[in-house]
Amino acid sequence: MNVDKELDARGLNCPLPILRTKKSLADMTSGQILKVTSTDAGSVKDMQAFANQTGNVLVSQAEVNGEYVFMMQKK
């Protein structure tokens, strides 16, 4: 998958991963992919909720060595 932008949210706690995701998406164009890496266990459900609420698409999510990797496609 082509990643257009990456956000390192490791070490950040609620609600910062979501707020930084929102900010990162702001200057992207529709269809582009943002890769977010987080260590906040709460962000797993929160990213889904963010996608539900905003209409951006959570294309995939995975856990790798205690880190969470999300691919978010801008609406």
Partner: protein, 154 residues
């Protein structure tokens, strides 16, 4: 667009967080948010937030490094120490500061309003607060809350 109205009434470090976390998050989700600050919640609108503190007194659920009798928690300096330790802990856990969360709220157009009645009650000056806020009464909150999807009293 969804709307959320919050009434913020508390001015301690722990209770200052929920309104700012929820307001900034809702704004990030595209919601329109109003935070009505009254009584001690007015402290969320002060220019300088560094004076916001937490006390272990009357707060038996607060985790302490060692068990602390109430009379020890009441000693001079304990509140400052507890506040410092809590802030250090928050920083080490990647929790945003109150200042950072409020800045994010303001950036995202969260509407903060101050209760004029309590401003007068406590003899505060409008100049003590951040700019861009309105000083209003309960009716102004109702005007917003009546159309809101979520209303919280914190």
């Amino acid at each position: 667009m969804k709307k959320m109205g919050i009434i913020a009434t508390k001015g301690t470090l722990d209770m200052a967080y929920p309104p700012l976390i929820l307001a900034s998050t809702a704004a990030a989700l595209g919601w329109e948010v109003m935070v009505f600050c009254t009584f001690y919640g007015l402290d969320l609108l002060r220019k300088d937030l560094s004076g916001i503190s937490i006390s272990p007194l009357a707060n038996p659920a607060m985790p302490m490094p060692v068990p602390m009798p109430v009379l020890v928690a009441a000693l001079p300096g304990m509140q400052a120490m507890a506040t410092m330790m809590m802030k250090q802990k928050m920083k080490s856990k990647g929790v945003a500061s109150l200042q950072e969360l409020r800045d994010l709220c303001l950036e995202a157009d969260v509407k903060f309003v101050a209760c004029q009645m309590t401003v007068e009650l406590f003899e505060y000056e409008h100049s003590e607060f951040i700019s861009g806020i309105d000083f209003v009464g309960a009716a102004s909150f109702m005007d917003f809350a009546g159309e809101a999807d979520v209303c919280l009293f914190i």
